[in-house]
Amino acid sequence: MIDTLRLTAEEGLGLIESRQVSSAELHAAYVAAAAERDEEIHAYLRLCEATETGGVPIALKDVISTRGIETTAGSKILAGYVPVFDSTVAARCKAAGMPIIGKTNTDEFAMGSSTENSAYGPSRNPWDPTRVPGGSGGGTAAAVSGGLAPWGLGSDTGGSIKQPSALCGNVGLRPTYGTVSRFGIVAFASSLDQIGPVAKTVRDVALLYSIIAGRDVNDSTTVELPEAVELPTNESLAGVRIGIPKQVWDLAGIEPGVRASFEGAVETARALGAEIGDCDLPLSFDYGMACYYLIAPAEASSNLARYDGVRYGPRVDAPTYREMVEQTRDAGFGDEPKRRIMLGTYALSAGYYDAYYGQAQRVRTLLIREHRAALEQFDLIATPTSPTVAFPIGERAADPLAMYACDVMTIPSCLAGLPGLNIPSGRSEGLPVGLQLIGSQFGENALFRAGHALERAIGFDTVPERLR
């Protein structure tokens, strides 16, 4: 009997390689677990047949195009859309023999921090089904934490891998921009979108990253990794310099339990030999959110223009082309994409471009410099991932700004194109708390080493208490 709640991907691979279990049997076990628990959790939008063999099954966020399998990005406007091609990451998973368990729920077009913006209903947090799993990649995070997948892929634009990983008690990596292909990923904000792994351990995350990363001729913004991915083994942090942004301590809205867990993790790092010091990211904390909410919607307003009902997806018939497009988009998009299309259209408009989009790009350059300066002094930067633990479903749904505040600490490093890793640092009110480690460009191996050592020392149990 396979314990899908506990089995890591690495262990699963061991079972497959020693022929104790086939990948089809593993796939069946996760599908069975979904049949048992997903009615409550709603991590999956649809389950898939196993077509690959030899690898560990995987869950894919529904922004990832899969040939022959409906891909909706959580939106009604893509209902019934079946891609004729695989995204590069899906193709690489398939080439590694990994069967797809299912496509996971997401906020519509990955816009949100709770999956409540999914047109197909919210996912629920396996630790407490009255609460959100985070977002936008709440489906993948809930699947991994609820034992419905050993690992999965998410997409992160401003925190959509890191924040749900924190709220569900998973390990999640947002890779360095340009290391993982975006080909076949339903675009939200092209200069920020990155695909990355979610799993129960840092080693699993590193393993999955090694499978999906590297230059892709179909994505001009990708590069070859400067060094091979190493599966971490170290248990010490001797000589590792970790900077804590001074601004973290003054940030309003950080829950005391989150703060306590973060302080505990910092002490653990110190005990493992890390050198802890203060760093300074004033612009990132003051302007990161504002900058992000100009750049991301601006790009989104353009990326979402293709959904016009002409070539694919549902169409609302109307007497003229213009009315057809207007009515199709009105019926197909939910409130959050509409809000961001309007924000972005405004930010790019003649007469406003310089003051909004142009200014945000200049600020982005400053944030890149500020992070670079901090990472000259330190190997890694540490912050809490989310200011709060998982919040009740519905609590923030009517308040976009409160929702946006979920990502205040994940956003700046996304704007800087830097890799970020969430690992569980403990619990508050019985719910998982996440620690965010930010590395230098292409510094994934350093993140994996530090994450692994901390993970071992913290000894967080990734299985939700109520399911143990």
Binding site: T71, V84, S220, E299, V310, R311
Partner: protein, 471 residues
């Protein structure tokens, strides 16, 4: 005292590059395939599809930029031009915008009164839109159509947009500039540049001003002109329209017109309620284009003598108009070789530009030595033989020699009996000619030529006929 007006013209030229594949995907670019068969997720704008630059298109853009004396940008950036239209599958067109590949060039246009220099403001690369046909309704436009058909085969093919400075002062200058630009593009091998096929499209910005002034008054744009002659006529019609407005004390409004060559009329396009706002921003799916210095140098070294320069050179040997015809017809290399082989320049130019082109012979297949022999013998050998020789001059292994042996018959003793018989057979015409209907001379000459199988010398025949009827 009435004002003398000067026309001011700037041109925007779109050249479709004949790359094997499209601008941002691997689909075949080209004509003739069934509708929507040359498409893929990238050029249909499917979710998640990403553009990848066509290297050849970049190289050809640099090549044209160098040929036009432009600065080649060490870093060019593609932008998104956002607007909704069914021919635009992504909802935006990828186009170079504020950082184009080529800027600040120029081209000379030899004119009878001297050389005109036309500034090239920029040449930039963009992707073409799909082809739309609006069915039903009468406007041929999307508004009012019952339905529209879209062929995405053309969507995503590479287009070069070339923008000139407002340096052109007449329709004739515009026409000559376009002939030379087209020839430049064709010789670079980057486009067929055929207006009928739409691989060359020209819009003209026209304004007028009192001669001697250097102000730039409100300009209007004319579109939809599908030949160089129509462009010239369109410019003249628009200039005349504006002059009439100014002279009547009115004010020219900025407008866009379609020129209808059939009626010679300008029809304003329905003016939009609000100004276009394309919300340009840098295309985040592409990295900047940074052409390597060694590529630029290699392309620069490959450039041959520009058409305009060759027109100037040949214009000294012939007149400018003949030189322009030869160069822009792709005939000047054959001309030069034929003259070098001993032919008289004027005769060679006439034979090549008229007879050879008229016979549909590809100048590249013609042996200049043999052509030179024909040009030199053309007064001597029968007309029919000459025409036949020209017609086959492009055949492999063609020799002029068998044709040179045929002589025209100008000997009166041979022609007399033929002419007598023809006069006898046409007494009515003979009487009319005698009565003063001189035009009938051609009739008699024609009959003689027919009777002799084209071997008679027409000049000798006319003299004899005239002598016999009037003498």
């Amino acid at each position: 005292m009435s004002t003398t007006w000067e026309t001011v013209v700037g041109l925007e030229i779109h050249v479709q590059l004949k790359t094997r594949t499209k601008m941002f995907c691997r689909c075949t670019a080209g004509y003739g395939a069934g509708e929507n068969t040359q498409t893929c997720p990238v050029c249909l704008g499917f979710p998640g599809a990403l553009p990848v630059l066509n290297r050849t298109a970049i190289e050809w853009t640099v090549k044209l930029g160098l040929a036009l004396g432009c600065e080649i940008a060490p870093r060019a950036v593609f932008a998104r031009k956002n607007y909704f239209y069914p021919d635009l599958p992504k909802g935006y067109q990828i186009s170079q915008y504020d950082m184009p590949s080529c800027e600040d060039g120029s081209m000379i246009v030899p004119m009878p009164e001297g050389e005109l220099t036309v500034g090239i403001v920029r040449a930039h690369l963009e992707e073409d839109a799909a082809k739309t046909v609006h069915m039903g309704g009468h406007s041929g436009r999307i508004g009012g159509a019952e339905y529209s058909l879209v062929d995405y085969n053309r969507g995503g093919t590479p287009l070069l947009e070339i923008v000139t400075a407002p340096d052109i002062r007449s329709s004739e200058e515009a026409k000559r500039f376009l002939l030379l630009l087209r020839q430049t593009v064709v010789e670079l091998g980057i486009s067929d540049a055929e207006m009928e096929k739409g691989t060359l499209r020209v819009d003209a910005n026209v304004s007028v001003r009192p001669e001697g002034s250097d102000e730039l008054r409100t300009r209007c744009e004319i579109k939809n002109m599908n030949s160089f002659n129509y462009i010239a006529r369109g410019i003249e019609a628009e200039a005349a329209r504006q002059i009439a407005i100014w002279e009547a004390g009115g004010e020219v409004r900025q407008e866009t017109f379609d020129f209808d060559a059939g009626s010679g009329t300008l029809t304003p396009r329905r003016s939009k309620e609000e100004a276009d706002d394309y919300r340009y921003f840098p295309e985040p799916d592409l990295v900047p284009v940074e052409p390597p210095a060694e590529m630029i140098e290699r392309l620069r070294a490959e450039l041959s003598e520009p058409p305009a320069v060759r027109v100037v050179r040949l214009g000294k040997e012939l007149d400018l108009d003949r030189a322009l015809v030869l160069v822009t017809g792709g005939l000047d290399r054959l001309f030069t070789a034929t003259v070098a082989a001993g032919a008289d320049p004027l005769a060679a130019s006439n034979v090549i530009a008229n007879n050879l082109v008229g016979a549909g012979v590809d100048p590249a297949t013609v042996d200049a030595m043999e052509l030179a022999k024909l040009v030199s013998a053309r007064e001597r050998i029968p007309r029919a033989a000459f025409d036949e020789a020209i017609g086959s001059s492009g055949d492999p292994g063609f020799s002029a020699d068998p044709f040179l042996e045929l002589e025209v018959v100008s000997d009166a003793s041979e022609l007399d009996p033929v002419i007598d018989a023809i006069i006898a057979a046409n007494p009515g015409q003979a009487a009319a000619f005698r009565a003063g209907k001189e035009g009938l001379l051609g009739f008699f000459v024609g009959q003689v030529m027919k009777e002799t199988g084209g071997q008679a010398d027409p000049r000798a025949v006319s003299e004899i006929v005239r002598g016999k009827l009037l003498g």
